[in-house]
Subunit: 302 residues, 3 copies
């Protein structure tokens, strides 16, 4: 969980994914020697701050978004949202501008939402939740499980992946995500049209802690049923514990793929969390284990 | 109307268009011998469950969506919407899961909307309205006139079509429709940039039963005026009865084309119906007749 | 300001940009002889009513939308909106249909919004605000500063532009804008991935009249921070007065680029106005001057 903790501490709200990309490039550089297959990397010019790893002869692509929710400083320390973060008074935000480090609590006034800080912060400065990473026997808890855990899962899968693509995408939390053009690149260069969305979902009445990774049958987006059926069949035959999810709200890079001008079969497969989009996102370790195992099987069988 | 009735009875909500595609492939296989021109078919890998028919040297493409509205079963027989169906208590829904056929009425509770059925239904099972097809002298009435009638119109036009494309698309009702990537294929392979949207619209103060097919000047989307003017001029000169529609809500595959990364001129041309998105969709036969005739002329003159 | 006044008087709501395009083609034809570089023009088949100017070896593209907000006539002189115009009772609208010129005031009834005019207007007729152009020492005021001023700015920049692209786009006000496919063309043909959005923004608490052109750090869309930083650094070093804007609402062709299937770095740079989307849009002349100067520097340095 050290790697996960490190990634949770990286400041990378939507539009500022650069630090996450650089962390991953270093990590891959240091660790791929121990991976079964060394991937081809696509990044840099024409890829903004995204990163694509291609292993062997890919048939399926994993999408994991690098960005987190957060806040942007407006005028006189007023703040507005990046994506849909919980914004209860008292939540501690951190960031940095031209004058130095920033740390302060959210306060609400009639005229808007502010960060309580001793000096005026530069316009446009982005703020993220202050990290309090808690690792117990059964749970991991911190802000940004969504989606540093989805990224972490992808890195775990990378260790033994022989054929497949891993896409680290941007802007998923705020809209205007890059899964569209990254998907275009993949379809045109590798002919890959199947996707798994490595992201974190919600604990609900139907999806509970500790019962396994969720395989989402739909959310606000509806994926093609025949593909979903394939995923569920493989999950069932694997013997790995999993839960079937059905929602009519929420979205992911799956929606970006669905809306793009390319034919994508996609399925959201991810561990569920409590306290969504807050500093207290909490995931059961058994579900994380199930997620990694399920991805390994799916990438082999799909 | 036998063919229309058959198609209304096919279970194909957004994401499960496969059955409609297979029905059409069989129908085309059996009937194209009697068509003026035998079309080239595009479907299968890279087309999901969509189907494209290309006749002669096409200048214009007809888009007709295969999917219908419906419901997905969540947990404990709770249901959520696919697209925007009417969901009044008492409406009868049907479907099938791993344990067999399903039929039950919509019931509403404080905690949500449910199907009243004797056993727990598999998560993710899709349900559609139970069909009650009524064919009288002047009207056809059933669920899913929208858009099995738009599909039926396309098949009628196919009989004599010499030059043109017919696109059977998916996910129109729910969002994330495939008109975008199907349009991309058409523009890149055939250079066709003109579209007609073969779909069903609303009876309103300005568009009445029996006064002819509606030519929509706009809805939530605004098509290019100069193209719309061309369509209206051809309609006027044809002597076929038609009505001009202006709305600021509602959408169609036209919006998908408009939002895609390709330059499309599009116009919605379709018969109006009462009781939109309910099991009681009702269309005047004279308007259906006008729709078929208008499409024949438009496909020749555009 | 004569040229600006002329352009404000051209009737070109979303979907009817043709008149603006033709005006620009004539203007360019008459004036490019005096420009430092004569641009290559792209328009016509496959470009709808848009127009692209390519100067030298471009690295950055300016996007300025041609269309305005307005209204469409429905049934019995009821009107519905094109984009998001202010629609206070008494505002005077003008247009033309098959029977002649139209001028009348907005009136509101329980059943809807109407234009008060002596005869029934043709369905689908578009109406725009009646122009009252006011040019004083410090301010220009008229409807359609947004975005005839953004177009005007692009023409000013054209006079001395050596390397760059100028895109005149459509449907920005209503949605379904053409920046997506025009951007596709530019990236594929010229490899240009950097954009500036030449459009008009809002006077707010943080952005005031006369303090210079606004450089927007974000609105409803969030551009890539590293690109924004480049723009701000160039602005700072230029010595030209400018203001930093941060909003969480509002959008522009920047959002269309962000949502397209192409990797775009974009930044909104434009003068602020009072009385947004009304017949009284008011812009400070110093801010217009700053806008032109800033664009000249940015197009050279980016």
């Amino acid at each position: 969980m050290k790697l996960l903790k490190k990634m949770c501490e990286i400041h990378a709200p939507s539009g500022e994914e650069l630090a996450m990309k650089e962390f991953l490039l270093n990590y891959i550089n240091d660790n791929q020697i121990n991976w079964k297959v060394q991937p081809t990397l696509h990044h840099g010019h024409g890829f903004q701050d995204n990163l694509i790893l291609v292993f062997g002869k890919p048939r399926t692509a994993i999408f994991a978004h690098l960005d987190s929710i957060g806040f942007t400083v407006k005028y006189d320390n007023e703040i507005v949202k990046i994506g849909g973060p919980v914004s209860t008074e008292g939540i501690v935000l951190v960031g940095e501008d031209s004058k130095g480090k920033i740390e302060g609590k959210i306060i609400k006034k009639k005229v808007g939402m502010f960060i309580n800080f001793k000096r005026e912060i530069d316009r446009g400065t982005s703020l993220t939740f202050k990290v309090d990473f808690r690792d117990t026997d059964d749970f991991v808890q911190s802000c940004y499980m969504d989606n540093r855990l989805g990224v972490w899962n992808s890195l775990e899968v990378s260790k033994t992946l022989e054929n497949g693509i891993i896409v680290f995408s941007s802007w998923e939390e705020h809209g205007g995500g890059t899964a569209g053009y990254l998907g275009k690149f993949i379809q045109e260069k590798y002919g890959v049209m199947q996707a798994l969305i490595s992201d974190i979902t919600w604990v609900t009445k139907g999806v509970e802690h500790g019962k396994g990774c969720a395989v989402s049958l739909r959310d606000s987006g509806i994926p093609r049923k025949s593909y979903i059926n394939k995923v569920v069949t493989i999950a069932k035959e694997s013997g790995i514990s999993y839960q079937l999810e059905v929602e009519d709200a929420g979205g992911s890079d799956g929606n970006e793929l669905q809306k793009s001008n390319y034919p994508w079969d996609w399925c959201f497969v991810g561990a569920p969390e409590d306290n969504v989009h807050s500093p207290e996102e909490k995931v059961n370790k058994a579900d994380i284990q199930s997620m990694v195992e399920l991805y390994k099987v799916l990438m082999e069988k799909l």
